[in-house]
């Protein structure tokens, strides 16, 4: 019995480097060998709501997609932005991207490029999507989009005048959009879209954000001010799976190239790594507590 106690105490006092090594391996192995651990993904209510909301959009509807994330949060948010864009383009929806973070401009470019290079859809710039440039100001830019977009944006990201882009005809403020989708990793983010634009002008808003932001956003989701939420990498994986199934089952979709190969997104393959890492953390916590209990008993 004493030996078992000793082992547990030792397990609770592992060297930090050993924990780092185990966490590294728990992430690395599933990423390198995704076939070894294949855990099915079940969709949560909030992800389903987002999917339904975007799926209800009609051909020609206008959606503003806001990019508020950067290099650090790209692995978490980027897969959902690609999946959301694929879903929108598969329904013939017109997409307007706007970055509210300086790096958001590049993220929007990468997301659009990824969808274009997948060859799933025959989409063209200024016909199916418009990329707006970055403007400093955060929530003030959101307010500007809500009231008078043309006073803030005069050109698109390629310096083409908005007046020369047919897709921009009739787009003057937030009420000219049918939906806003926010991809955020901080401030300004989904809360600012609710406070400064969408709630006041009654424009439906959904969001995808980092796991750490969900607690701040969830009151808006519960009140219906944000219609569903994609929460971090699990949310991205759930959405990717729904879009993957939707595209595979929708054989009569006129926007989808029949020759193109539909592949699951990156978040799906990363979920096994996250699962194992979370499980390992819980095991560490259990060992840490057993050790803590035994040490405390000894002191008493």
């Amino acid at each position: 019995m004493e030996l078992i106690k000793k082992i547990f105490i030792q397990l609770g006092q592992l060297d930090r480097r050993f924990i780092f090594l185990l966490i590294g391996l728990s992430v690395l192995i599933p990423l390198l060998k995704p076939d070894w651990i294949n855990i099915p993904i079940k969709t949560t209510t909030n992800s389903k709501i987002v999917f339904e909301e975007l799926n209800n959009l009609k051909e020609g509807d206008k959606v503003l997609v806001s990019f508020e994330y950067g290099a650090s949060t790209k692995p978490e948010i980027h897969p959902m932005s690609v999946a959301v864009l694929q879903h929108l383009f598969s329904n013939g929806v017109k997409v307007y991207t706007v970055p509210l973070w300086p790096e958001g401009l590049m993220m929007a470019k990468y997301a659009i490029e990824e969808v274009v290079s997948s060859d799933l859809f025959n989409i063209e710039e200024h016909v199916d999507y418009v990329s707006l440039p970055y403007k400093a100001g955060g929530e003030i830019i959101i307010r500007g989009i809500a009231t008078d977009m043309r006073s803030i944006f005069t050109q698109d990201v390629n310096n083409v005048l908005l007046t020369e882009i047919p897709m921009m005809t009739g787009i003057n403020n937030i009420t000219d959009f049918d939906f806003v989708f926010d991809l955020s990793a901080g401030v300004p983010g989904n809360a600012e879209w609710v406070q400064f634009a969408c709630d006041e002008y009654k424009i439906p808003l959904s969001s995808g954000c980092t796991s750490i932001m969900v607690t701040d956003a969830i009151p808006y989701v519960e009140s219906g001010q944000i219609r569903g939420i994609l929460a971090g990498m699990p949310g991205a994986a759930e959405y990717e799976q729904m879009v993957f199934e939707y595209l595979n089952n929708d054989t009569y979709n006129k926007y989808l190239n029949k020759e193109a190969v539909i592949v699951p997104g990156k978040a799906t393959s990363r979920m096994s790594a996250q699962s194992i890492a979370h499980l390992l953390m819980v095991i560490f916590i259990v060992f840490g507590n057993i050790s803590y209990y035994l040490i405390r008993k000894r002191k008493i």
Partner: protein, 267 residues
Amino acid sequence: MKRQLAYFLVIFIGFLTLLGHFINYSPLNNFIDNDATQWFDIISGFAAFLGVINLLQLHLNKIANKRDNWRYSIITLAGFTIMIIFGFIYNGSSVAMGPHLKEDGSAFYWMFQNIYLPLGATMFALLAFFVASASYRAFKIRNFEATLLLISGVFLMIGRVPIGQLIPWWMALEIYICLFFALIANRFEEKKKMLFSLVICIIVLPLITYFLNLHNLSIFKIPELQEWIMDVPATAGSRAIMIGIALGTIAQSYRIITGRERSILGD
């Protein structure tokens, strides 16, 4: 006089902006929604310029006085200078200056794609290691509050990932039993009695739950429990914080626009 003028400007613009939301007078609404927004854009552009000057001052000062870690400041300034050159002076591609910032082939784009992006992702990825190490050391059953935090943290960690769906109802029940006994362990004077009670509960409670057909309850499905934690207690806590922040913002804004708060001008 300078200071009073600054206070007057703050008070005047503050009240004007506030009134714009309550008075339906189109020139005023137009000023708030359009002109003031553009003013803010211009001011934030200058603020970025001031930020750049401040960054330079701070790091040059650090290097000149050889303060702690001054060598890192050299790297900061080198990175800053290189990006300024690639952004404003040297393009490296046939694309026009301006659009070159986001076009393949330009030096600026190369730096973003191959240096900034991997470094940013690396910094964030390191968090996983620190969180693992910190939770191992800090998540302890010290008191009731810490236990609540630990339990909800563990359920969220497991419930948020697909592996949580693979946990069967009986295992969830065993986890609850173990957590319950961990909470009340100190109340047992005889450890044998505690161990006996724990073993009995671990064997009998799953059987009772199964025969009473209670095993389909959401509480035994960790992902659903996780959703409940997020939807109910987490929402309640977040709302309380949000309302607190909103009230604080109103109070602070009132102090600023009535000239009571002087720290904004460096007093």
